[in-house]
């Protein structure tokens, strides 16, 4: 128990240091207050810790503290083989697990220089777009809940649930599917896949107007979102924002358009751009992006080519010596996978360029001077997934 007493003493000491009588931080005024949002807070949707300096209700400074869910996925991947490390990346941005896996598989395939059969490519794209819709649906519900509207959360989850059912049937899991393997996909599509996707699209189309009724057109929602957290195009570029966050500011950065992978260059879809830069623009980008994903799925669902779903690869994969980089568009932005190979069965170094990290970094910039209630709207529209930021 002696040791415990020592710890307790230390704890008390730190308490005194953290007291408000300690010399305040730079730029900290007399009327200011420091408030810790997180790591356990309903609005951070995970273990993000924000140290906010407030003057009344006005935010003066936001300092994100990271590392509460750091699992060193990059280091872990270095000890796993090229087949094995893909599943770990599902745990990064767990809402677009498929797309993360896709990025890794693409990178390994680039190193192996294998051709993917057309059927596998179509399956991959279909799954990517379904995942994107599921991710955006969850974001929609969670963001509405942050703003205090509970009901759209359940309505959004109804649609997401039917996507999850499709995933469960074909991939065998609902969230962390591990469906991508180097050279294709793990299984062939389930026989009822086409029908169920069509059913889902019908459900989605019959319910999509509800979001407009409940949120988009709602005067309270518009007031909460418009001119809140304005991010200019210059700032979006200089902070390295990607995905809907940057596209809401009018920065064209869709990897599917700019650096097409798989069969994206043969598909017809629009890159959704809004120029407002505020939370409402980011919201609109995501809502319209769901419709673009539906459009992609519509083009592909009846035209899945026959053939192999997987190229035969060796049992033990070895990448040649060199560096490989691949990028995909996840639901949150650009995910880059960078592999340095020494020619062994495991990568020498792996680096993920996750979209969430850069998107979070603008939070302080856009939150300054706005109200505390706006912060949740901004965090909601930045679509933060904490494991993606911490990895």
């Amino acid at each position: 128990m002696e040791g415990f007493g020592e710890v307790l003493k230390m704890y008390r000491k730190t308490e005194i240091i953290n007291d408000s009588k300690a010399p305040p931080a730079e730029g900290f005024g007399e009327a200011d207050m420091i408030i810790n949002v997180g790591p356990q807070h309903p609005a951070t949707h995970g273990v993000l810790h924000l140290v906010i300096t407030l003057n009344g209700e006005t935010i003066k400074n936001v300092e994100p503290h990271l590392g509460y869910i750091h699992r060193s996925i990059e280091k872990m991947c270095e000890s796993l083989s090229y087949r094995q490390f893909i599943y770990v990346t599902s745990r990064m941005d767990y809402l677009s697990a498929h797309i993360n896996n896709h990025a890794c598989a693409l990178c390994v395939e680039q190193g192996l220089q294998v051709e993917i059969p057309p059927r596998a490519q179509v399956i991959r794209v279909l799954m990517d777009e379904l995942t994107r819709i599921a991710s955006h649906e969850l974001w929609l519900g969670a963001m509405a809940m942050d703003l205090g509207a509970f009901t759209p959360f359940f309505h959004a989850f109804r649609e997401r649930e039917s996507i999850n059912d499709i995933m469960e049937e074909t991939c065998g899991a609902r969230l962390t599917m591990n469906y991508m393997v180097p050279g294709g996909v793990m299984h062939d599509l389930h026989p009822s896949f086409q029908q169920r996707v069509k059913d889902f699209m019908q459900l989605y189309k019959s319910k999509v107007h509800e979001y407009d009724e409940m949120l988009t057109g709602n005067i309270i929602f518009q007031n909460r979102m418009k001119n809140v957290g304005v991010l200019s195009a210059e700032d979006a570029i200089s902070y390295g924002c990607t995905g809907p966050t940057a596209r809401g500011s009018g920065v064209s950065c869709d990897v599917r358009k700019l650096y097409p992978y798989e069969i994206y260059n043969t598909l017809e879809f629009d890159e959704v751009l809004e120029t407002g830069g505020d939370s409402f623009s980011r919201y609109m980008v995501r809502v319209r992006e769901m419709q673009q994903s539906i459009r992609i799925i519509e083009q592909l669902i009846d035209n899945i080519p026959e053939g192999d779903f997987q190229t035969k690869t060796k049992a033990v994969l070895k990448l040649p010596k060199g560096e490989f980089y691949s990028r995909v568009e996840t639901a949150r932005g650009e995910l880059g996978v960078y592999i340095v190979s020494e020619g062994a069965t495991t990568p020498y170094r792996i680096k993920f360029r996750s979209p969430g990290f850069s998107n979070l970094s603008v939070l302080n910039h856009i939150a300054k001077g706005s109200k505390l209630g706006d912060l949740v709207a901004m965090m909601g529209t930045l679509d933060l997934v904490i494991p993606d930021i911490d990895r």
């Binding site: 796993l80 083989s81 087949r83 094995q84 490390f85 599943y87 770990v88 009901t151 109804r158 649930e161 469960e168 049937e169 074909t170 991939c171 065998g172 899991a173 962390t176 591990n178 393997v181 793990m186 299984h187 389930h190 509800e210 009724e213 409940m214 057109g217 709602n218 005067i219 309270i220 049992a315």
Partner: protein, 158 residues
């Protein structure tokens, strides 16, 4: 005019709010749209897809025979060290010593259901089961031995 704009603004706001209330009112009165699944009650009718990855099992036939040759492919394929193959020496029909599995230890608590072991298995000895209620009171119960006691390898599987 200012007052006209003011009234229009209020009218638009009220209309948008009423629209939302109509939607929730619709769901309040239409109970057919309820999507709740009453989970423990619907255990009998719960239909999990056959590809659902619940846990790794080793199927045995009626003679208590399995298809595992002990090639360790699954052990190598597993990213988490979930599977461990323990061997024993066995006498076959001709009296020769032959290596066979004693235990195929499977740590459910480490498993991430990634399906890589099943993909790697050359003789289809293991597969994914659709069970998902894995909670137990003692962590040790999660360490499972997949082959039944006294089981043998099926004839003709190499």
């Amino acid at each position: 005019m200012f007052i006209k704009k003011y009234i229009q603004e209020i009218w638009g706001a009220v209309k948008s709010l009423l629209k939302g209330m109509r939607r929730t009112g619709y769901y309040f009165t239409h109970h057919k749209e309820i999507i709740t699944q009453q989970y423990p009650d619907n255990r009998e009718t719960l239909n999990l897809p056959e590809r659902f990855k619940g846990e790794v099992v080793m199927p045995h036939d009626e003679n208590n025979e399995h298809r595992c040759t002990g090639c360790q492919a699954c052990e190598l394929a597993c990213p988490n060290g979930t599977i461990k193959v323990i061997f024993k020496n066995e006498l076959n029909a001709e009296g020769k010593k032959k290596k066979a599995i004693d235990k195929l230890v499977y740590h459910l608590e480490l498993c991430t259901m990634c399906n890589l072991c099943i993909e790697a298995c050359p003789s289809d000895a293991i597969k994914m089961a659709q069970t998902f209620e894995h909670s137990v009171f003692d962590r040790n119960e999660l360490t499972k031995i997949l082959n039944n006691p006294g089981s043998k390898i099926m004839d003709g599987v190499e």
